[in-house]
C-alpha cells in the first residue's frame, strides 16, 4: 500500500477540530454574557475576590509558551531539531507552571470556603454564586485543555526523539502547535472576563 500523505488535508481537519473547540467554549461564553447582563453588580463584586496579579502572571506565562511553541516549529522548519526539542520542552514546562499557579489560586479559594455548594458560597448573593460557578467551570475546563495540550506536546516530543517527526515531516507538530495556541487564545478571553471584571 502506498503511503498516502496530504499535509493540507490534515491541517484542514485540525482547523475544523479547533472550530468545535471554540464553539464548546462558545456555549460557556453565551452563558457568561447572559448571566453578566442579569447580575452586573454582583459580577463586579465577585470579580474583586479574584487575584488579578496571579491571573496576569499566568497570561504572560501562557503567551510565552505560545512563543516558544511557534519558535519550536520555526526551528523544525530550519532543520534545527535539537532547538526544536528544547523549545517544545519549554512549552510543556511553561504549561506546568501555569497549572501550578492555577492550583495555588484554586487552593486559596477553597481555603476561603469559596467552592461550588460550599457553606460560604450559599450565603452570597445569587449573582456572585453564579459568577463563581462560571469561574470554576470555565477555568477548570480550560485547565483540562492545558493538560490535554501538554499531553499532546509530550507525545510530539517522544515522536521527535524517535525520528517520527523530522524536518521533512512535521505537520503533526504544527497541528499540536495550533491546538496549543487555541488554548492560549481562550485564556486571553477568560482573563478580562473574570480577573478584570471588578
Amino acid at each position: 500500500m502506498v503511503e498516502h500523505r496530504d499535509d493540507f488535508g490534515s491541517k484542514l481537519g485540525m482547523w475544523l477540530f479547533l472550530v468545535t473547540e471554540i464553539l464548546l467554549f462558545g456555549g460557556l461564553f453565551i452563558a457568561y454574557s447572559y448571566m453578566r447582563a442579569r447580575y452586573p453588580v454582583e459580577f463586579h463584586h465577585a470579580g474583586a475576590e479574584l487575584n488579578a496579579t496571579l491571573g496576569v502572571t499566568n497570561t504572560f506565562i501562557l503567551l510565552t509558551s505560545s512563543l516558544s511553541m511557534a519558535l519550536g516549529i520555526v526551528a523544525m522548519q530550519r532543520g534545527q531539531e535539537l532547538w526544536s526539542r528544547i523549545l517544545v520542552g519549554c512549552t510543556v514546562l511553561l504549561g506546568l507552571v501555569f497549572l501550578c499557579i492555577k492550583g495555588i489560586e484554586w487552593a486559596a479559594k477553597f481555603h476561603h470556603g469559596l467552592y461550588p455548594d460550599s457553606a460560604r458560597i450559599l450565603t452570597l448573593p445569587q449573582g456572585e454564586r453564579i459568577f463563581f460557578g462560571l469561574y470554576f467551570s470555565m477555568t477548570g475546563l480550560h485547565g483540562l485543555h492545558v493538560i490535554a495540550g501538554m499531553g499532546v506536546l509530550s507525545v510530539m516530543l517522544v515522536m521527535m526523539l524517535r525520528g517520527r517527526i523530522h524536518p521533512g515531516q512535521y505537520t503533526l507538530l504544527e497541528n499540536g502547535g495550533l491546538y496549543w495556541h487555541l488554548v492560549d487564545v481562550i485564556w486571553i478571553f477568560l482573563l478580562p472576563l473574570f480577573y478584570l471584571a471588578a
Binding site: 484542514l12 475544523l16 477540530f17 464553539l23 464548546l24 447572559y34 442579569r38 455548594d117 449573582g127
Partner: protein, 541 residues
C-alpha cells in the same frame, strides 16, 4: 462496467491480512467495513428502541396497564428517545451510507482520516454501552425524557449523569465523522469531480457535516454543565441558586434543532440518488437541491427557540422564531417539488427502493406540513406537549429519515453485500409498515388535537378508542419491520449474487463490482460530466 463477478469473489467482504473473522472487522480502517459495522450495530439498537416503543404503546391498553409502574413508564419514554435519537437517527445515514459511499461517489479510495473513522465507531459503541449502563446502575434509568430539561434533570435521583455523559461521547463520534467528511470532500475528489459534478448525496453529507461541527459542541458543553451541576452544584441552570432553566433550553435546542437537520438532510440526499435512477433521467434542479441543502443547514441553525414558545420568552422573540421557522419550509419544499418533477416524463421503474422512496415523500410531506402548523404561534400554544407533537416528530423522523434509511438500504444493499434480497418479501413488508405507521402516528396527530398530553401514563376515557387504534398500529408496524429485516439479513447471508449494476444507475458506485474491492478503484476515474447524465452513461462514461 464490471458486472461479471464470480461467486468466489466477494470484494472487501473477504478478510485480508493477518486477522480473520470478527477481529478483522473490528480493526479494519476500510470505510466500507466501518459502514457495515455501523449498520449492524445501529439496527440492533434500533430494534431495542422499537421494542421499548411497542411496550410503551402496550401499557396504554387497559389489559396491560399494570405491566409497568408510572415511574418505569417515564424511564421507558426516556430510553426510547435516547436510543432512537442518539444511537439511530443522528448517526443514521451518514455513518452507514456516508461512510460506505461518500468516498466511492467522489472517486476516492477511502475517507481522509481512516483511523479517525474507526475511532469514531469505537466512540459510538462506547457511548452506546454507557447509555445502556445508565439504565441499570446508579439510581436507575433516567426519567427526564431525552431532552434532559433542567431543573428536573438536576434534581431527579435517577442516573442522569451517566446518560448525559453517554450522549456527550456520542456527540464526539458524530463531530469527528463530520470533520472527516468535510476534509474528504474538500481534498479527495477524483480529477474532474468538480463540486457541481458531485452526486447530491455528497452535497447533503457536506451540509450535514457542517451542522455536526457547528452545533454538536454546544450540546457537549450543555451536557457538561448538567454534569457539573449534578456533581458540584455550580448553579447555572438551578433557579434556587440564581441560575436560569430557560438558558438550559436555549443551549440545548441550539444543538438539538439543527440536529433534526443532521437527521433529515442525508435522508433527502439518498432520495435524490434514488429518484433519477428509477426515472432514468437527470434529477430536476440539481443546483436548487444542492443549495437547498446548504440553506436548510444555514436557516435551520436559527430556528431553535420554536421549541420554547410556551416556555416564557418575549412575544417579540416568539414572532421572530415563528417567521424563521416558516422560512425553513421553503428549501424543504423545493426538494419535494424537484423529486416529483424528476418523475415527470421519466421512464419509471417501480423497484423496491423507489417504492420506499415514494413512501418517504408522502410521509415526509405530512410531517413537514404539520411542522409548519406548529410554527404558527396560535396553533403551537394549543398543541404544545400533546400527542400532536409526537405524531409530527415521528412522521418526520421515522416516516422521513427512517423510510429514507430503508429505501437507501434497499437501493445500495446489492452493492454493499453483493447479494440481492427477495423483492416480493420487501414489498410484502411494506403493507403492514405503511398501514401500521399511519394508524400509529396519524392516530397520534388526532389524539393530540383532541388534547391528549404527551408522556402521560394515564389517559381519560375519552381517549380510549384513539389509544386502541394507535396501539394496534404499533403492532402492524413492528410486524412490517421484522419482515423487512429478516428478508435483508437472510439475503446478506444466502441471497443470490447481485450484478454490478442491478438498477441501471449511473453514479460511480455502479461502475464497481458488487461488492467493491478494498480501496474501491483499481484506477482513480477521471470525471468529465455530471452525475445523472443517463444519455452519456453518467459517471459510467
Amino acid at each position: 462496467m464490471n458486472s461479471s463477478t464470480t461467486s468466489a469473489d466477494l470484494g472487501f467482504l473477504v478478510d485480508e491480512g493477518p486477522r480473520r473473522g470478527l477481529m478483522a472487522w473490528l480493526t479494519s480502517t476500510d470505510h466500507k467495513r466501518i459502514g457495515i459495522l455501523y449498520l449492524w450495530s445501529m439496527l440492533a439498537f434500533f430494534m431495542v428502541g422499537v421494542g421499548v416503543g411497542v411496550l410503551m404503546r402496550l401499557v396504554q391498553l387497559d389489559t396491560f396497564h399494570h405491566l409497568v409502574t408510572a415511574r418505569t413508564y417515564n424511564a421507558l419514554f426516556t430510553v426510547h428517545g435516547v436510543i432512537m435519537i442518539f444511537l439511530f437517527v443522528v448517526p443514521g445515514l451518514p455513518a452507514v451510507f456516508g461512510n460506505f459511499f461518500l468516498p466511492i461517489l467522489i472517486g476516492a479510495k477511502d475517507v481522509a482520516f481512516p483511523r479517525l473513522n474507526l475511532a469514531s465507531w469505537y466512540f459510538y459503541i462506547a457511548g452506546a454501552i454507557l447509555a445502556l449502563l445508565s439504565l441499570f446502575t446508579g439510581g436507575g434509568a433516567p426519567d427526564t425524557g431525552w431532552t434532559f430539561y433542567a431543573p428536573f434533570s438536576l434534581q431527579t435521583g435517577t442516573n442522569v449523569t451517566l446518560a448525559v455523559f453517554a450522549a456527550f461521547i456520542l456527540g464526539f463520534s458524530s463531530m469527528l465523522t463530520g470533520i472527516n467528511f468535510i476534509t474528504t470532500i474538500h481534498r479527495l475528489r477524483a480529477p474532474g469531480m468538480s463540486w457541481f459534478r458531485m452526486p447530491l448525496f455528497c452535497w447533503s453529507l457536506y451540509s450535514t457535516s457542517w451542522i455536526q461541527i457547528l452545533a454538536t459542541p454546544v450540546l457537549a458543553i450543555t451536557l457538561i454543565l448538567v454534569m457539573l451541576e449534578r456533581i458540584f452544584g455550580i448553579g447555572i441552570f438551578d433557579p434556587t441558586k440564581g441560575g436560569d432553566p430557560l438558558l438550559y433550553q436555549h443551549l440545548f435546542w441550539i444543538y438539538s434543532h439543527p440536529a433534526v437537520y443532521i437527521m433529515i438532510l442525508p435522508a433527502m440526499g439518498a432520495i435524490s440518488e434514488i429518484m433519477p435512477t428509477f426515472s432514468r433521467k437527470p434529477i430536476f434542479g440539481y443546483t436548487a437541491i444542492a443549495f437547498s441543502s446548504m440553506s436548510i443547514a444555514g436557516v435551520g441553525s436559527l430556528v431553535w427557540a420554536h421549541h420554547m414558545f410556551t416556555s416564557g420568552m418575549s412575544e417579540f422573540a416568539n414572532m421572530v422564531f415563528s417567521l424563521l421557522t416558516m422560512i425553513v419550509a421553503i428549501p424543504s419544499a423545493i426538494k419535494v417539488f424537484n423529486w416529483v418533477s424528476t418523475l415527470y416524463k421519466g421512464s419509471i421503474d417501480v423497484q423496491p427502493p423507489l417504492f420506499y422512496a415514494l413512501t418517504f415523500i408522502f410521509l415526509f410531506c405530512i410531517g413537514g406540513l404539520t411542522g409548519v402548523m406548529q410554527g404558527a404561534l396560535s396553533i403551537n400554544v394549543h398543541v404544545h406537549d400533546t400527542y400532536f407533537i409526537v405524531g409530527h416528530f415521528h412522521y418526520v423522523m421515522f416516516g422521513g429519515t427512517g423510510f429514507a434509511f430503508f429505501a437507501a438500504l434497499l437501493y445500495w444493499f446489492p452493492k454493499m453485500f453483493g447479494r440481492m434480497y427477495s423483492k416480493k418479501l420487501i414489498i410484502a413488508a411494506w403493507f403492514p409498515l405503511f398501514v401500521g405507521f399511519n394508524m400509529l402516528y396519524f392516530g397520534m396527530l388526532v389524539l393530540g388535537m383532541q388534547g391528549m398530553p404527551r408522556r402521560y401514563f394515564e389517559h381519560l376515557p375519552m381517549f380510549h378508542a384513539g389509544h386502541q387504534v394507535v396501539t394496534v398500529g404499533s403492532w402492524l408496524l413492528a410486524l412490517g419491520l421484522v419482515i423487512y429485516l429478516v428478508a435483508l439479513i437472510w439475503a446478506a447471508r444466502k441471497g443470490p449474487r447481485a450484478e454490478g449494476n442491478p438498477w441501471g444507475g449511473v453514479t460511480l458506485e455502479w461502475t464497481l463490482p458488487s461488492p467493491p474491492i478494498k480501496e474501491n478503484f483499481e484506477e482513480i476515474p477521471v470525471i468529465d460530466h455530471g452525475p445523472y447524465e443517463f444519455r452519456k452513461g453518467g459517471h459510467h462514461g
